[in-house]
Symmetry: D2
Subunit: 344 residues, 4 copies
């Protein structure tokens, strides 16, 4: 497959390059960057020298890019991807957007949380979380790749919500991310001395991944779920951990909970169930497309605490995109993604 | 005041030495360590050379230590402090225990969570959290210095619980700590390569700080509070952040919440209220005795999210002990504790 | 003493505020910042709230600042401090400049390395490294506070160079610094994800601290010293370690080397000699004004390796400035600086 | 090829498992551990669950292991590997030892630095650094895989030493490593709180990698080289940077230096030449088998400064072993090793 990446100079784009370099079925054709057009990608990321030295082109080239590519990965900020989607509307080309523009079923939810008018309501699109939407991903023209916090959080709660084992009104998600999630643009707040030996929350009660989690959990549950989501910033580079709380519905026993996870994820290659009492750890999935899930049942309080860990740049971004790409192309889903986490 | 430290070689003991070195009213007389008896403290912690070179003695010396000291700080693991307390029962000496042995009003709660028989139910003792028990600290003979997670969590929730502004059954505390909280003993799990670039939860639903938080919040509220507390390990050295969730009681408005914090803490020198919308950050209190508190009111879910930050070794251990010492001695409460956090 | 800080919003300025807050003889009167005029310093550094809430003024106010102050600390980039020095030329006010503008005896050296025309060759000035120039600091009107790498490097080598124990042509200094040394301005290269789990050299053979080290060592030695200095960036916030190499002059024995250090530094409060075989460690001096020095004599190669450690923001900047301030004012040199490092 | 790993539970063994998992020509048959015999490797390293769940056996099984394996990787501490070598003396099996036992041509040098009697002077063995000994690696029965610091240091200096461009008596190597180089055994000194925000040297003038570097550089140069090597510990998990200094021989110009590197490494897949003025960075090679090399020529001092960066666990250990394995087996040298570094 010939693929191109629109917006290749952010961390998600760079991670895509890492994964696609060893993917046996992908040929990287074009990379674009509006701010660095004409430079080599290896001038932006020197670790790519002698491995990937493609010259960055501009979106102005979109006709040629479309002509040369079977698949396009878009790694642009929200609001920009949909413009590319519009331009490609009439082309026979499939798209995976790693941003938020194609994730929402209800455009008004998108517009309300992202404060931007939506311009492109593509007909054939799907929420790009393979474990939930594998069938639709096979044929959708546009895949709205699931977000990082959302992937960890939805996967953690899906079996419980789908099987009505928890009180849907009681969900609280407390999550933490490495700083690569904040992107590569120069900000004083993200300088190493500012964040080193420090921990803090941000975007409490208004983070944009909230409605995305709510959308998917509501679909699974059948009724409208509203929840709390609180992200934190960890002084590390990669990784997301979601710690999710919910009240257990009356009469639900441990066995039922354990079976719900086993049934939903038992055959999933990228989900590693640690079981009841298990402790997912971001280092255990670092560099890989794996999502670890463990849960704890507290009968003192009648709550279940589900914990999940992913690498925010892999299962939370580029790895998920490659997984979706594999499904969309009919490849074995783990093609190019079957490797061991980088530890220590 | 002549003071001695029993168990001076752990991180809490070392932090006490740092704080007492510049305290104008404390003379450090004896330091003990059973594992390093006869060595200088500066052989254990080389950064103390030429500043504090006292030789470590043994608890076998307790008669002499008691004779020479007005105040004794105990930094021993739980189960050991109470034995020292017993030995000093008949002495005219005051004690601050930085461990758990003297924190519980109900001994059976202690025995149930700590799996050890309690040996010394001292009559004159108090839970050593100055903002809640200042008056009793003035005269108590034994002060059971509040724990690290507990200090952050109780201070965050106290105004809401005391004023019945939240549903007492709905409390969830999600907290994270630097690794100094795990102590200085050699454990593979705490090696730098194991924890670096990693984040995880531990002791879910069974951490021993849970009943301590419940005790103090129950007293404030008047009814028995049971809650969830989940600690996480952050790849950093110092700092604790508690993110606390609770359902807001019907009809409670923002103003009432804001006023509850202002009223309870407006005059507290060591509590820095960041107000509604504030984001406490562990780096902003590093090395200091300050507790930062901010809160967020989410009307979508009718929950309040209160966040607090402390330095686990200062307000969470040694600084709190010095604050209690100041109160107990009738000194200005901020004596030796009025300095600026170490940033960056 | 009434003091003011010109350029208070960088890390060095902020560290001065931390140290002066507990200094018994300094009253902070004015703080300036051209980029944040009118804001409170605690809006720039929230950890200062309720401790230091002064409003930042502009250099336009220099007349008033001069009138109100006995001492002025300048924390501006090189090239800017000398303009302030000019403005204050006729005032009866003493100055400590934490930058490079007043460090060089030979202006042409400054101009060559800093690529800027020097504008203010003040008559009464001194290189502000107390251990070498204590007497002149007492009376100089302008003190050119020694740089961070330079302080560590000069102090490591001074006894050997002064006593002609090493081949002056053979000196190589390999040093490493925490990222706070790179300042607080927003640069992509200093984002946490870029530096975390990474180590690199920079400015090889052209770092501007080179001529400063050469100047002071040449004075001590009596002949012109040219050397190699290589800085590295460590993924941490604070600290500098200098590892210095030199060939031992023929016939110099270990005892002579050891005595040279003991004689020069035996009475220095802020120098902690670890002796032959000692290993200075940045964490052992973190937050303090201490410089640790240890050395190793290798008879296989006939080289001496001297290692020194400082906190770049304290003995390498603000602490050194306060030490110089104390000397200049006739205070005990350790006033406000006698505290224990922050560990762990 | 059927391969087995003796001593699989250290970091080097675990990294071998990561690399061999995706190697198309290696089947992992046996893993041994004397301390964890009978456990699954995934119980020791939970990130291996569902990917590599082999049960650890004991060296007592060596007959069976030898029978089942074509190639054996030994990851034991020095002094132990040679005992395994002895046991396998008569077997038709090839060995790569990742420790020091088979690295020295002169056994007395080994015995002097390692303080242990050498027991097995195998006839057919080679120093396992492919860029220097590729031809011998093809046929040697035992490959003494080059050490981590040594690989970085030798590769940096080889072109200069081989071509007599520097004064062989003037070499100084100042290097720094992440903490994974210190192994996985529980030591107080390597706890995260002890090393975080800290930097220090260790083993000055006596590190055991010194004679290994000297051996290889002496062979290249033709005369006996003695040098200084100083390791430092960086608060990070992975990576080694070597900064090497040497006096340039009279009359050597820049072009000659540049050409020496180009000629020696121009065709090397795993060496990335950054050229004169280049800055190798450990993050740029993290997780990969690449060695970055850059150099700086200082005409003020007539010295060359060569800098090299590797991942200590890959090109410094397991990756190098796989590279040697590929050569020994006649596979393409980059088989299973051609991937992009993990960044950020």
């Amino acid at each position: 497959m010939n693929i191109s990446i629109i917006g290749a100079t952010g961390y998600a784009g760079a991670e895509l390059l890492r994964l696609l370099y060893t993917h046996p079925r992908a040929n990287i054709i074009h990379l674009t960057s509006e701010s660095s057009t004409g430079k080599k990608i290896s001038a932006i990321y020197p670790y790519l020298r002698e491995r990937c030295d493609l010259t960055l082109t501009s979106l102005d080239n979109i006709e040629q890019i479309a002509k040369d590519s079977d698949f396009i990965f878009i790694c642009l900020p929200h609001g920009h991807a949909m413009k590319v989607g519009q331009l490609l509307e009439s082309k026979n080309i499939r798209i995976i957007d790693l941003g938020a523009d194609y994730r929402f079923n209800d455009i008004s939810t998108y517009e309300q949380w992202y404060k931007v008018k939506h311009l492109h309501t593509a007909a054939s699109r799907v929420y790009g979380l393979a474990e939930l939407h594998r069938e639709e991903i096979k044929s959708a023209r546009i895949i709205g790749n699931a977000g990082c916090y959302t992937t960890a959080s939805i996967l953690a709660l899906a079996p419980l919500v789908k099987n009505h084992l928890i009180d849907a009104k009681s969900i609280i998600i407390d999550a933490a991310s490495g700083v690569s999630g904040a992107g590569r643009s120069a900000k004083q707040a993200n300088l190493l001395p500012e964040l080193y030996d420090s921990f803090k929350a941000y975007a409490v009660a208004n983070h944009r991944h909230t409605p995305e989690i709510e959308q998917e959990l509501s679909i699974l549950n059948g009724e409208n779920i509203i929840l709390n989501f609180t992200p934190h910033l960890v002084p590390m580079a990669r990784g997301i951990l979601s710690t999710c709380y919910a009240n257990i519905s009356p009469a639900v026993d441990d066995k039922t909970i354990n079976e719900a996870f086993a049934k939903m994820y038992g055959q999933e290659f990228f989900i590693r169930l640690l079981g009841e009492g298990g402790y997912p750890t971001t280092k255990n999935v670092r560099g890989s497309n794996i999502c670890e899930i463990g849960w704890h049942i507290d009968r003192r309080t009648n709550r279940v605490i589900v914990i999940s860990a992913i690498d925010n740049l892999v299962k939370g971004a580029a790895g998920q995109a490659v997984q979706n790409f594999n499904i969309a192309c009919g490849f074995d889903e783990k093609t190019g993604l079957d490797f061991i986490p980088v530890y220590p």
